[in-house]
C-alpha cells in the first residue's frame, strides 16, 4: 500500500495529510488518556504497535505471483479504534519512509490515511456490528483483521485512481494490482490474529474482557 515517494502530486499529498491530521491528533490524546487511566494498557498498546511492526515488515507471497505487505492494524483497531491505530501506523510508515525508502515523506499523509484510517475505520464498523450481532470471537477477529488489511489496499487504489484518472478505468487497474494480491494475505493475517486473540483470552482475560465483551472463562480447559 505504500505509494512511492514523489508519486502523488502535491495537491493530493496535502489533501490526504490534511484529512489524516485530525485523526492523528485525536489518537495522540487517546493514547495519553488510555495510559493515564490504566497504566496496564501500556502492554496492549505496545503489543498493538509490535504487530504492525512485524506484519508490515513482512512481504508475503500471494497466489497472484506477486508479493505484498500485510498491515497488522486489525488488532489495534479492535482494542483502541481508529485514532490510536493511525498514530501507530504513522510511526511504522515514518520508519519505512526514512530507513527503507518504502513509501515516502511526501506520500506519508496518503499512506497514513489508507493504512491507519480508512482500513481501520471499515474494520471498526464491522467489528462493532458483529459485536452487536453476537458473532463468535474467532470469526469476528478474522473478519475484522481481514477487512482492515483489504480496505487499506482498496483505499490505496482509490487514492491512485483519483490522482491518475480517468477514475473508473484506472481504479480497475490499481485494484487488479493491489486488492487481488491482498485477498490471500488478508486471510493469512485474519487466521493469525484469530489464534492470537484466542490465546490472549485464555492467558490474559483481564486484558480482553472489555474489548470482546466476554466474561472471564471459568476453567473450561479440557
Amino acid at each position: 500500500m505504500h505509494i512511492m515517494e514523489g508519486y502523488l502530486d502535491i495537491i493530493w499529498c496535502l489533501l490526504w495529510a490534511a484529512l489524516s491530521i485530525p485523526f492523528l491528533v485525536y489518537g495522540f490524546y487517546s493514547i495519553k488518556r488510555i495510559i493515564k487511566d490504566d497504566p496496564g494498557q501500556k502492554t496492549v498498546l505496545a503489543l498493538s504497535g509490535a504487530f504492525i511492526f512485524v506484519l508490515s515488515s513482512l512481504k508475503l507471497p500471494s497466489v497472484t505471483g506477486s508479493s505484498s505487505h500485510p498491515t497488522g492494524t486489525g488488532f489495534s483497531t479492535m482494542f483502541y479504534g481508529v485514532g490510536v491505530t493511525s498514530v501507530l501506523a504513522l510511526i511504522v510508515l515514518v520508519f519505512q519512509a526514512l530507513l527503507l525508502a518504502h513509501g515516502g515523506l511526501t506520500t506519508l499523509g496518503a499512506n497514513v490515511f489508507s493504512m491507519g484510517i480508512a482500513g481501520p475505520f471499515i474494520a471498526y464498523m464491522a467489528f462493532k456490528a458483529m459485536t452487536k450481532a453476537g458473532v463468535a470471537t474467532p470469526v469476528k477477529v478474522f473478519i475484522t483483521v481481514m477487512l482492515a488489511d483489504l480496505a487499506t489496499y482498496v483505499m490505496t487504489s482509490i487514492q491512485l485512481a483519483l490522482a491518475f484518472g480517468p477514475f473508473t478505468e484506472s481504479l480497475t487497474d490499481f485494484l487488479a494490482v493491489f486488492a487481488v494480491t491482498q485477498i490471500p494475505l488478508g486471510i493469512v493475517e485474519g487466521i493469525l490474529f484469530a489464534i492470537f486473540v484466542d490465546y490472549l483470552e485464555r492467558a490474559r482475560p483481564d486484558l480482553t474482557e472489555k474489548v470482546l465483551l466476554r466474561k472471564r472463562r471459568v476453567a473450561v480447559e479440557p
Partner: protein, 99 residues
C-alpha cells in the same frame, strides 16, 4: 476439542496459503505490489515524473537488514509479552495442581 488442535489447523492453513502461492507460480519473482503500482502509473501516464526522491535509499542488502530490524523490534515485544504471561500464570496453575 482442545484449542491447540485449532491453532495447529490455523497455522497449517496459513502455511498452505503461502506455500500454494509459491507452487502455483513456479519461477515467479514475486515482485512487490508497491512497485507494480508504480508500473501501472507509468502505463496510465507515461510522462509522469516523480517530483521528489527518497532522501536516502538503502542498497538491497541494507534494506534486508533494516526490514529484519523492524521485524525484530516487533517480535521481541510480542515474545516478551507471551513469556511474561507464562510466568504470570504459573502460580495459579500450581495451586490448581494442589486442589
Amino acid at each position: 476439542m482442545n484449542h491447540r488442535y485449532y491453532y495447529a489447523l490455523g497455522f497449517a492453513a496459513v502455511a498452505m496459503l503461502l506455500i500454494s502461492a509459491m507452487l502455483l507460480n513456479p519461477g515467479s519473482e514475486f515482485g512487490g505490489t508497491d512497485d507494480s503500482g508504480g508500473d501501472v502509473i507509468g502505463d496510465l501516464d507515461p510522462d509522469y515524473e516523480p517530483w521528489f526522491q527518497s532522501l536516502w535509499e538503502p542498497s538491497g542488502e541494507l534494506e534486508t537488514l533494516l526490514f529484519c530490524l523492524q521485524t525484530a523490534i516487533g517480535a521481541l515485544i510480542i515474545g516478551y509479552f507471551i513469556g511474561s504471561n507464562r510466568q504470570r500464570n504459573r502460580p495459579s496453575q500450581a495451586e490448581q495442581g494442589k486442589v
